[in-house]
Symmetry: none
């Protein structure tokens, strides 16, 4: 899972995988993206300077512009990648789930939480720095985000309609489940105390409780 292969002595191994597999970038371009991700996640977009980034990736500031046209485009690329990975992860999970809304909820929440645990930096940047994007560059992400939320809302609606869920309040429940995942990068660090699978399992259980799942058909 960690593909660090021996590289030239100039290589700067990045340790854990920071970017999801849907990011195609390689070489310097990828290093810049990873540096920006780390930097933006740690300092925030506006507190990060191109000089800081250049230092991290051991390049001159001007060299960054060979690969990305602006600081904002860097952020846009990360936000886009993050949203697509998220959306892709949710859709893939739903595809493997059956038609039962409860199964679908379990699958969706598991994927949602797992993604936030696996890519905490990216999730942080996506969730806290999208406001720093101009409307044009933010639009695609916003659309994906809306779709992801719709996925959850739809499951809740169908579960409620079928009597499978006893919702306290659809919107509030959706928000709570969404927040459950989004808050993960803020507090969770994988470790012996709580591994990712246990985190996911507990989160799923909480979601199931929140929707007031009724005894199933079977």
């Amino acid at each position: 899972m960690n593909d660090r292969s021996p590289r030239s002595r100039l290589a700067r191994p990045t340790g854990p995988v920071l970017l999801p597999p849907n990011v195609a970038a390689e070489g310097t371009r990828r290093r810049i993206l990873e540096g920006a991700l780390l930097l933006f996640a740690r300092e925030g977009f506006h507190a990060s300077s191109m000089r800081d980034l250049a230092r991290i990736v051991e390049l001159q500031p001007s060299a960054v512009y060979v690969h990305f046209p602006s600081k904002e485009h860097l952020l846009a690329e990360l936000v886009r990648a993050g949203h697509e990975a998220h959306q892709g992860g949710l859709r893939a999970a739903l595809l493997e789930a059956g038609l039962d809304p409860l199964d679908q909820l379990r699958a969706l929440v598991a994927a949602h939480v797992r993604l936030h645990a696996a890519f905490p930096h990216l999730a942080t940047v996506v969730n806290t720095e999208m406001a720093s994007l101009s409307p044009d560059l933010a639009a695609p992400g916003l659309a994906l985000r809306k779709q992801s939320m719709a996925l959850l809302v739809d499951i809740l609606a169908r579960g409620a309609a079928s009597g499978r869920f006893a919702l306290a309040h659809a919107t509030v429940t959706a928000a709570a489940i969404s927040a459950l995942g989004q808050s993960v990068p803020a507090w969770y660090a994988p470790g012996p105390g709580l591994d990712v699978d246990a985190l996911v399992e507990a989160s799923v259980e909480l979601a199931v409780r929140m929707v007031g799942a009724q005894p199933g058909p079977r």
Copy 2:
């Protein structure tokens, strides 16, 4: 939706109450604090310039420094006020609740959510910009935050110990309940569709479900 009534030019009405009652500032100092709150919440601390702030409060940038020694101190003051209001709100709620952990949970969650709904700008700033504070200025807030979390964790622990709660996982549950309130400013706006009381009620219900509350003693 904008209820600012026509007043004298000098009045500079601030519309809704932005700052909790524990903020003692008056006059220009208060106006600066409110302007900073609005600005920091909307743009983020690092994206907000003292020039912007000065423009908002209709002062020269240098005049802001008559009242606050630095931009960071402005943020620190807001963060401090926010944390104290939050802590105070939680403690007051607990004081009125009985000894039953479930009652305490209800009271705590209600206060937590209500505060986030009543002071969304302040909550946003406190939750997203504390990292912009130097360790010295951040410390008091961090301490309060820890205490607030301990309040919740403690209730969960006592409820679990007494058999009143059937927790899926204490830490995850605490995080989920905390996130439930913290996410409110990001999506909720009081309106006919969902008033604050309904939001609070639904939130409390979700928390109760999350802890797996068992039929009470009586």
Copy 3:
């Protein structure tokens, strides 16, 4: 010689006498002058702010303007006082000396050095900060300075003409004697190792040697 009398509890005794007797200022005005003297001597005129000064004299910056119209006028006052004290000191010394150029030289150098040892802060300010004065405010000081130099040059000239001195070079000698005194504040601090009288005596001896004094008439 130190006239510190008991004053109100607000009084801030200034310790050693910083200003020569020809400075008439009293009360707050004097305290400001002394504070400015200390500050300008320590930090330099341009590195000293009115806020710093106000802090030193425990006043608000605006209160300083009640006594002096500007920062530059403060400096001008000090420079004027310094030059007048210097000039006065030299003239008084000459008055007591006889007609012999060597006696006059002794008297002049003694006064010159003694004044620099007695009022080192003032001498420092006068010698290093006069360039910070606008031509208008600098003019009186410049004139006095010229006169003081003329006093020395004249003695040298008369001594040379009468065969009493065997000068190496009139201008260079005058400069060296002048510098001999002016450098005192930079290195000398009264103490057991070298008291003022010894400093003065040694300095006079050096000057006498520099002019190549010949065996006297008698």
Copy 4:
């Protein structure tokens, strides 16, 4: 009196040599250093702004920071260069002098005065603006200064011990000789009236008289 010959607009002739040979800087970096030297010498460090400097060297203020990290570092570089040139000049002179303290004194004073006459701007900055340096940046210069003074003090001590000198007072004599050179930039300008060689010769003679040199061995 102004010998700048007509050259291309871009040449920005600097006229006389302002910096000693031990300053390696070239191109823009050197121009900045020279501009800063002129400016600091004329206005004083604190009265000189980076804008002023940028205007002098025909650059944007920000471009100065490409070459020097701060205004203070500019000063530090000048002070360092000045001290090293001074120290180097003194040592070189002593190397060529024999073992006789009187010869050594002559050599030392000649070098001391000649350097101050040759690089008056640098000497001015070194002597008057070192106090504007933070302790860290001032330390190297302070150390060199101490060594230079020790060179003189040592010669005096040896001359006195050997009976070659009849000192009035070692410390005062050393201070006077030192001041003799340091005061040069304040009053001396090379010209037909007094050329550098004559200045040096006269200065050496004054120093010789000050130490009370006795008839030599030969």
